[in-house]
Amino acid sequence: MTALVTVLTILLPILYLAVWADYLWLFYTEHPVARRTCSRAAAAVVILHMGVMVIRGVALQRLPMGTQAEFMSALALALLGTYLVVERRLRAKNTGFLTTGAAGLMMLSSAIFEPGAAQVNPLLSDPGFAGHAVLVLLSYTALSLSFLYAILYLVLARQLMRRRFGLLFRRLPALETLERMSVVSVEMGVPLLFLALALGHLWMYDLADRPGLDPRLAKALTPWDAKILFSWVIFLGYTAGLAGHRFLGWRGRRMNIMAVAAFVTIVVGMGAVHHFFPTFHKFPTMDASAVASPRADAPAYAANHLLTGER
């Protein structure tokens, strides 16, 4: 089984690149074979990748997102999976080369990174934290897709305004479809973000009640944490955008500029929060000994170590 997982881990970046090539073929030629095969190939890769993740997770007894390589791999899977859901709902395949290309590059970088098996976050063994991390990953991936489609909308609108009837005009879906793809991505991202935040809160209170937790850490575990607050702002912002779209008829260029601005705010805001505000969401890695020697108070021990840097 280990050998199979190893082979698949090596094979996955190649499969991702093959899917990308298929979508590129479709974009440039609209060949019927490419149209027939691209989604199926992508779905097969997603299923295979999920299988590998599950086997790895079971083997490692933790969420396989602990190292940089694992994280990039999970991000690629989330991107491809989320894209496939949007593609299936809107039946528009011609933008696939962008997302599959990005996912392919992530898988390549994942293959290039050091495995880093010795340094992993032991909190990933905790189901509450693992669920929170997966939901956060999926929600932000969906929101990033919304950003991508909003950009494509603005690019196509500009091409039309300038009367450029080139490849982008011929291949990109209608403005209406691009807008719907952006909205559908947000519709996926917002509930996932809510679930991620809710689970994060529950896990945080659960962790605070665990025996052996450093009192300083217990004090730091607060819902008023800068990152959590900013995440709620993001959630509320996107929810307001969705409500405006649905009930006030927000459409077109303005709506898509808002989607772009919202995602830029996420990136810049999160960067600023990480740099300028104290937050317990900073997880240094720990050495293998911390993970390799299970203790009765392991979660609290791991949290103490990770969040305060002390043993």
Binding site: T29, P32, A157, M161, E176
Partner: protein, 461 residues
């Protein structure tokens, strides 16, 4: 050409003849039937012509002939055309394309693929060829050569259209208008169009939008009566088409079904002074009036887009001189296009279609090779069929014998094995005949096979 028959085409098309000549060559359906009857009557007394399939469209008239090997196809055709009183000289003039054998079939395959059409890749020709084929089959069953050639042509056409992009993208201005609007609104059924002007051009464009299921169409014209008349005509056409499409019926039955269904409520007319309000309600505006000054002004559009919450407004000005004031294009979320833009799209699509020609030619080449192989084998088929019949007869006797003496299961098993055996023997025989060193040698082998296993020989036994 090998075999007992040969194939020919005599063609007058937009590529070879001006309209006046094409008109002389045109064959109505009645004339086409008369021609087939004339050739069929001729073949009773003089069995030279096996079959004929005439194809006549607005751009071409072509006559496909299958005649006995060595017969003069031109003489046969000339005689038949004269017999029905058609202008026979036109098919033998310098305007006619005369192709024989595989060249004729290659032409047919290219024709079915839209490669010979005035608009490269246009799909209508396939339906026209199928109509001609059906008409021919209804009157006189075509010979094996023409039958196979037309079936192959339909297959080649289908492959070219599905495996290449030779038929994609609008190549007419009216379709380009729809294509351009679909870059804004993918689901036209959820959107509303406004037609400003009730002339022929506008009506044509409106029909295209209705064909693509536009959700709602409003006609506005300076003369409300003309707007109402056009709306009524379009309503009538649409409801007839919907009924025919739904129930797959035509004529009087369709009329009664239409009466039950009622008029198509998607199409309405509004008076000229409601133009501003009509623009505010529309997502697609088509303007085609004969006005000498712009009739759609910036203030009007500015007011209309105010409540659109950023939803784009697609405006198409296909009037000369223009109907839409140039400053309208400067308003945010308003996209104004003109005839020159549609023409640019058409030219781009045509260039893209031309880029598909090598791929299409390759596919046609593959299909032609298959037809060529069939043609090569045509002289073997009767003899091989007799040989197969002989083997099948032997097998049936043997299986019957086993069934009498042994169990049914064993007889079925013997039957299955002997079928396999026959398949192998026939395969090997066909392969050996195909690989004969010369045509003469193959004829000798066929003669031997016939002598040994023909029905007459078996009866003599």
């Amino acid at each position: 050409m090998a075999g007992a028959t040969s194939l020919h085409v005599r063609s007058i098309s937009h590529k070879t003849a001006p309209t006046a000549v094409r008109e002389r060559a045109h064959l109505t359906e009645e004339r086409a039937v008369e021609l087939m009857d004339a050739l069929s009557a001729g073949s009773a007394s003089e069995p030279a012509c096996v079959s004929v399939i005439p194809v006549s469209t607005c751009n071409r008239t072509e006559i496909y002939l299958e005649v006995k090997d060595g017969a003069d196809a031109d003489a046969i055709l000339r005689e038949a055309l004269a017999a029905i009183g058609a202008d026979c000289e036109v098919f033998f003039s310098e305007h006619a394309l005369r192709l024989d054998g595989l060249e004729a079939i290659a032409h047919l395959y290219r024709l079915a693929s839209g490669m010979e059409s005035m608009m490269l890749g246009e799909p209508q020709i396939t339906a026209q060829l199928k109509d001609a084929y059906r008409l021919a089959r209804a009157h006189h069953e075509p010979g094996p050569g023409l039958l196979r050639a037309f079936q192959g042509a339909f297959r080649a056409g289908k492959r070219v259209r599905t495996e290449t992009r030779i038929s994609t993208g609008a190549v007419s201005v009216a379709f380009a208008a729809v294509e351009l609007s679909r870059k804004f609104f993918d689901r036209l059924g959820k959107h509303r169009a406004l037609l400003v002007g009730a002339g022929e051009t506008g009506a044509l464009a409106a029909r295209h939008f209705l064909q693509h299921d536009i959700g709602h169409l409003t006609v506005v014209n300076r003369s409300f009566e003309r707007a109402e008349a056009l709306a009524a005509t379009l309503r009538d056409e649409q409801s007839r088409q919907l009924v025919e499409a739904d129930l797959d019926i035509e004529g009087e039955s369709a009329d009664s079904a239409r009466a039950l269904r009622g008029p198509d409520s998607r199409i309405i007319a509004r008076p000229w002074d409601e133009l501003g309000a009509a623009i505010a309600n529309a997502d697609v505006v088509l303007s085609t009036t004969g006005a000498t000054e712009p009739v759609i002004l910036p203030a009007m559009v500015q007011a209309a887009v105010k409540d659109r919450h950023g939803l784009p407004l697609f405006m198409l000005d296909i009037a000369v001189p223009r109907d839409i004031h140039p400053d309208v294009a400067k308003i945010g979320n308003v996209f104004v296009f003109g005839l020159e833009d549609l023409d640019e799209i058409v030219q781009g699509n045509l260039a893209a279609r031309r880029g598909q020609i090598p791929h299409a030619e390759r596919l046609i080449g593959e299909e032609l090779a298959e037809f060529g192989q069939w043609l090569e084998d045509i002289d073997m088929r009767p003899t091989v069929a007799e040989f197969r019949a002989y083997l099948e007869e032997l097998k049936d006797k043997q299986v019957g014998f086993v069934r009498k003496k042994q169990s049914d299961e064993l007889a079925d098993e013997v039957d299955k094995n002997l079928q396999l055996f026959i398949k192998k023997v026939l395969g090997r025989s066909m392969s050996s005949l195909r690989n004969s060193e010369s045509r003469e040698e193959r004829a000798r082998h066929l003669e031997t096979l016939r002598a040994l296993f023909s029905a007459e020989e078996r009866d003599a036994d």
